[in-house]
Symmetry: C2
Subunit: 491 residues, 2 copies
Amino acid sequence: MHIDLSRNSSVKLYLQITKTLADRIQSGLLPQGTKLPSIRHLSSLLAVSPVTVSKAYAELESMNLVTCTQGKGCYVAEASVPIYHEGTQDLSWQMSLIDYLPRAQLWRNFNHSRKATYSFHIAAIQPELLPTREIIADTHRLSSENSDVMAAYGTFEGDLELREVFADHLSERGIPIVAEQLLVTSGAQQGIDLVARTFVGPGDVVYMEAPTYTGAIDVFTSRGAKVIMIPMDEEGMRIDILTRLCDTHPPKLIYTIPTFHNPTGVTLTMARRTQLLDLAQSYHCLIVEDDPFSDLYYKTKPPLSIKAHDQSGYVVYIKSFSKTVAPGCRIACVAATGSVMDRLVAAKSTTDLGSPLLTQKTLLPFLRNRLDQHLVSLREQIRDRLTVALNTLQRYAPPEVTWYAPEGGLNVWIKLPSMVDIPELERVADREGISFLPGAVCYAGGMDSNHIRISFSYTDKETLKSGLRKLCNLLGDILDHSVIVERKPIL
Amino acid sequence: MHIDLSRNSSVKLYLQITKTLADRIQSGLLPQGTKLPSIRHLSSLLAVSPVTVSKAYAELESMNLVTCTQGKGCYVAEASVPIYHEGTQDLSWQMSLIDYLPRAQLWRNFNHSRKATYSFHIAAIQPELLPTREIIADTHRLSSENSDVMAAYGTFEGDLELREVFADHLSERGIPIVAEQLLVTSGAQQGIDLVARTFVGPGDVVYMEAPTYTGAIDVFTSRGAKVIMIPMDEEGMRIDILTRLCDTHPPKLIYTIPTFHNPTGVTLTMARRTQLLDLAQSYHCLIVEDDPFSDLYYKTKPPLSIKAHDQSGYVVYIKSFSKTVAPGCRIACVAATGSVMDRLVAAKSTTDLGSPLLTQKTLLPFLRNRLDQHLVSLREQIRDRLTVALNTLQRYAPPEVTWYAPEGGLNVWIKLPSMVDIPELERVADREGISFLPGAVCYAGGMDSNHIRISFSYTDKETLKSGLRKLCNLLGDILDHSVIVERKPIL
């Protein structure tokens, strides 16, 4: 693998090496049993002293990620996930092939191999609540005119009719925008990735909320960014802390999920939205506003998006239309202006020559005519599930367990007492068919976290209830001998 | 923009600066009228002497890319393409936002805005020859079972049934492979991009044919690779030259289009395929075998792919199923083994969480049952067009104009006498509604080229004939006063 060392950083070199290797081991990119390079070899490769490498290896050993034996060297420990498949060919040379994938937590946590009866790890909506049959019926109306269109390459920006529908949708939500300022992407993930590959390079400072969406961390670290995570409170990202840090570490980009934040569920207040925009203006940096959830509010409408107040093209706004309609269609849009937009379109062309027209034309009639009505009933259905989730937690969770009750989105962020070993809980839960997202993957650098994220919208209510109860019981077993503390909501 | 200077390079610093700026200006990323940074400012930014920057600016001026005026500074010249749109907002700060897009020739040359009556610039197939109506009819058979599948996220690797169809298709073509060694991508472009983002970083040496596919140059330069282009002859890439260069510049990756190469049409001989694979094995580097055209042969079947002989996972093979079936569906596959495959899948997850299931499920029945039969008739149709193209050139091209007669693919690579100013020809042709691809964009670093690429499959035979005749006449006008030379095929 490629290890980027920053010699001017306040982070010690041995910790930088530790972090890089830990990220790769925890992502499964360095499989169990892999021999790490010898201390002598790695120190000469990185031009650091052997003591530095030796300290990094000791650190990894203390994290139980590697096992070192005198005279034999260090090996990735058994606890990590074995990923590489065996073949009959001799592929051993491949292990020396350097790559630029520092982290791959999406791959590690979300691939199809993960089938759970009580599927709480994925922030998606139960297929039965989605209008997929309707959308498939819409494909029957694809006319011969469409057929000719589809035989040609689409435009890099995406289908103009669809972008017009998106423009109307966003305008109704306070974002005054025209189709020309919109780019169709293959899901919000691609939107984040396009911004990163266009504007973020090695050493650029990217601020994110702590915690945040794990897929965004994957993206920005893959660009070699210096990711700095900003603590949150009940009003969202701590802009005061961000402001202070910007003094010494000027931002290239600030990534935020201001509305029903993933994973915490917290919404950034209007006042802080304004402060954030002011900050971007004074530093001439980009804000990436990722907005998967603003239409999924269960009490009152959330505040207007940051993009709605953006007069000078500082905000790149990313809106998924996959999650609430048809995840399998991978449709999202990115709103940006001026040369920022032009450069994103240029990057899109290099990436994949534009998103498929078939999915765009298929979703068009639904998004144009029936989305709003669908969202009304979807909100109702998911609010019911949220109620079930919160009630079940209230009733069965051990008293030491606390959570934040969200007013929108698909997740509950649960804080466990520090004596709970989350990887161990994961294994026990897995045996019962329960999956959840360990909070640690929502931090850059594998920070310790006592949290887990439960997504409550992918299973039906009965399954949700019984699965959550089982999980609470497992937690109860673990905590059986611990002291009872007072319960309060917490981030 | 971000300028990467390599101080150990044999290329002089002022030429590195020239190349970076020229690439951006020629891509339209620095629009007409943009003021370049002052010599003092850029020299301090890059930590080079003012003389170096001043030489770079003089070089750009001699290329007619910028205009410098004493006391006023240097501006991007009018001849370059104006791209950035105007708005009512003040977006001027955006011009100082550094990006990592060194080049964007795909964006510059292939976006929809380019509508020509005689469309010869795009290597695509006339929509009427594609089975799009059939494929749309297939969407009507998408069952409710499929509908449930589509409401969920797909897998990162792509639909298993589709990968099984791809595996059969490739096995029939001598590539013994199973579905697990295949990754579905959004077009071949994304396949190239995934390999680059996973395995290529700043300074890594990437070898390519000279000339090559412009979209691949965009991708590898965007990763900061040191791109080295290897001359070709009638047997394809000059492996002898490549071998010598590898001594001093060991390869990280070799990108090749061995069969009916784009843009030249030349096919790499079997002997050289073996040499290339041997070379990769001795340097432990990857070969990226891009294969858009092997099914489009018009005389005899081409030699087996390099991948067919790959025993140890050195070759990443990329096969588009968009071009010959449904470009609007953006479906291709990447074949790789071992940890190379695992890492590509991890990169795919970060990029877009997997390609849309709708397009995969829609194309499945056609690709499974009717592709081979479709290819038979497609070959016949396109062979007819090739004949028309070659006959028209033979009859009407001025005698100083030469070309290589391809035995497959969609392009004719035409060499013009050096006195033809190709940008000027482009403007004149554009007025007549004729588009072609200027050869210069098929070289890294904007190398001078006397070639143009004509794609003969996107228009019907009559349009092809009359457009090519017009183009020949334009060339005749230009060459009216030049000496007549003997005609022979040439690369």
